[in-house]
């Protein structure tokens, strides 16, 4: 870059170098702690959260690695069962009515699936939100589930093509809708060992 004398800079600019070093040390800390932070990194991030988190420099396990060949990466699919579906078949949730881009939809389904696997209360909240965003068909909605479709190694895929072994999708969340009123819905998990029925918020009119 073209060099120019820097004598016309204000006196306070002498602090810029050290400040930049401190700032980028913190950025390096935030980035290096993304995948799996150590106890020390977590503590440091906690201390500097007002600076790093507020400005969105603290990432919080963003998948920079894109893939680790882990089955838990998905893909995930949200499915609904309606009273008028032929032969009681599940169908994919109609995302097109919500205009969501594919990568964002995948992230949403993944988050939903993890909440279901961890048996988190918030999983039911997401189920209710999806049900409410499905207004035209809401009266017909019977059940909702999230599946993790099998992602296979190349060898597994070959075996499956040869009919030797078929990997079944894993159910991460599955619940039946119970109507408590015209605008109130509750969920009963299909696997009773996982969780019990919970009433959820009344949708806004």
């Amino acid at each position: 870059m073209a060099t120019e004398a820097t004598s016309n800079q204000p006196r306070w600019t002498r602090w810029i170098g050290p400040l930049a070093m401190v700032h980028f040390s913190l950025i390096a800390l935030a980035l290096s702690a993304n995948l799996s932070p150590s106890a020390l990194q977590s503590q440091l991030l906690q201390w500097f959260a007002p600076y790093l988190r507020t400005a969105n420099w603290e990432l919080g396990q963003v998948p920079l690695e894109l893939t680790q060949g882990n089955e838990l990466e998905g893909p995930f699919r949200v499915e609904v069962l309606t009273s008028d579906s032929p032969a009681g078949e599940w169908s994919e949730y109609p995302w097109s009515s919500l205009n969501l881009q594919r990568p964002l939809r995948d992230r949403f389904a993944k988050q939903f699936a993890f909440l279901g696997i961890q048996q988190e209360e918030a999983g039911f909240a997401l189920a209710t939100s999806l049900a409410k965003a499905y207004p035209q068909r809401l009266p017909a909605l019977k059940s909702l589930r999230v599946l993790r479709l099998p992602t296979e190694t190349r060898e597994e895929w070959i075996y499956r093509q040869e009919g030797l072994e078929a990997t079944a999708p894993e159910v991460c969340f599955e619940a039946d809708a119970v109507r408590l009123g015209p605008d109130e819905i509750s969920w009963v998990p299909r696997q009773e060992s996982r969780r019990s029925s919970r009433s959820l918020q009344k949708p806004s009119p």
């Binding site: 980035l31 919500l98 969501l100 992602t151 093509q161």
Partner: protein, 307 residues
């Protein structure tokens, strides 16, 4: 002793400052501004179409649901979002109309930054609005969005300068130390991001085994590449996987070695193309392409004059 000092230079405050505050043509800062604000404009326009349905009352990510996801006992308020260090003006907006208005304002802000109108004030307002999206749509942001929002505040250091918004944004030929500071910060942040990404890939065996593209195709993420088409082309799948990671490594190494910095640009561009084609994340691919301007030959040409 002199030789030792040559090989192991001890950085001083003076040498640090010389690096960060070197005066450079401010058109370079303007180029960075145009590139980043273009990507931010695309992101804002995306939310213009999908935000009202997703974030307003009755949408899958309405405020009550997101509050629960983030661990709040009640629906969080604007004060709560500030206390949680994830401030977002969108917390105060729940109707589709208000969210549409926010998306329009955000897009207009990006457009003004792109045209170079409003200086630091508009850059600051636009950054706050972009942060608002990022903090509000918990869980739906990916690496591309985080990189973009992370780089944007450096434009505050020098938003560039143009005589008229209707002229080319790079017309200003003056040199400024603030331009140097902005461009250096953008470059260093991007370099740290690239290095972290390259090292993160090393954590997965599939990257070493050349199966990452296969894995993504099998998961249905790759665009236009299905697993069946890679089945009889093992070497092709391996080659694409190795090339993809190699391009990122070249981007990192090329940035460190000035003589081959042009390859850094090519490497990052190739990695960005892979993000779109293999990972199916077109927005991250777009951000990678626009940020490649920071390590592009235009910047390198200026750098060589220094020697």
């Amino acid at each position: 002793m002199t030789r030792l000092a040559r090989y192991f230079p001890i950085p001083t405050v003076a040498t640090c400052n010389a690096f960060w505050t070197q005066a450079i043509p401010c058109r370079l800062a303007s180029m960075a501004r145009v590139a980043l604000s273009f990507a931010a404009l695309v992101w804002s326009l995306q939310w213009l179409f999908q935000g009202p349905k997703w974030l307003a009352d009755g949408g899958p990510l309405e405020l009550a649901t997101v509050s629960q996801l983030l661990g709040f006992e009640a629906t969080m308020s604007l004060t709560d979002s500030v206390a949680a260090m994830r401030p977002s003006l969108l917390v105060a907006l729940t109707s589709p109309t208000a969210i549409t208005a926010y998306a329009v304002a955000s897009a207009v802000g990006c457009l003004l930054v792109l045209l170079g109108i409003g200086g630091r004030a508009i850059v600051a307002v636009t950054w706050v609005m972009l942060l608002g999206w990022s903090h509000r749509v918990a869980g739906l942001t990916g690496p591309g969005e985080d990189l973009l929002v992370g780089l944007f505040p450096y434009l505050l250091l020098d938003p560039g300068k143009i005589d008229s918004p209707w002229r080319p944004a790079f017309s200003d030929a003056g040199n400024r130390w603030t331009s140097g500071l902005a461009v250096r910060c953008l470059q260093v942040h991007l370099a740290l991001w690239m290095a972290t990404t390259a090292l993160s890939h090393a954590s997965g065996l599939v990257w070493w085994q050349g199966e990452s593209v296969w894995w993504m195709a099998s998961a249905g993420r790759a665009i236009g590449i299905d697993a069946a088409s890679l089945l009889s082309r093992t070497y092709l799948g391996n080659f694409l996987s190795h090339l993809w990671w190699l391009s990122l490594l070249v981007a990192c190494i090329g940035w460190i070695v000035p003589q081959i910095r042009g390859w850094s640009w090519i490497g990052w561009l190739m990695y960005g193309a892979g993000l779109t084609l293999f990972a199916g994340d077109w927005f991250y691919g777009l951000v990678a392409c626009v940020t490649s301007i920071l390590i592009s030959p235009w910047m390198v040409v200026e750098d060589q004059q220094e020697a």
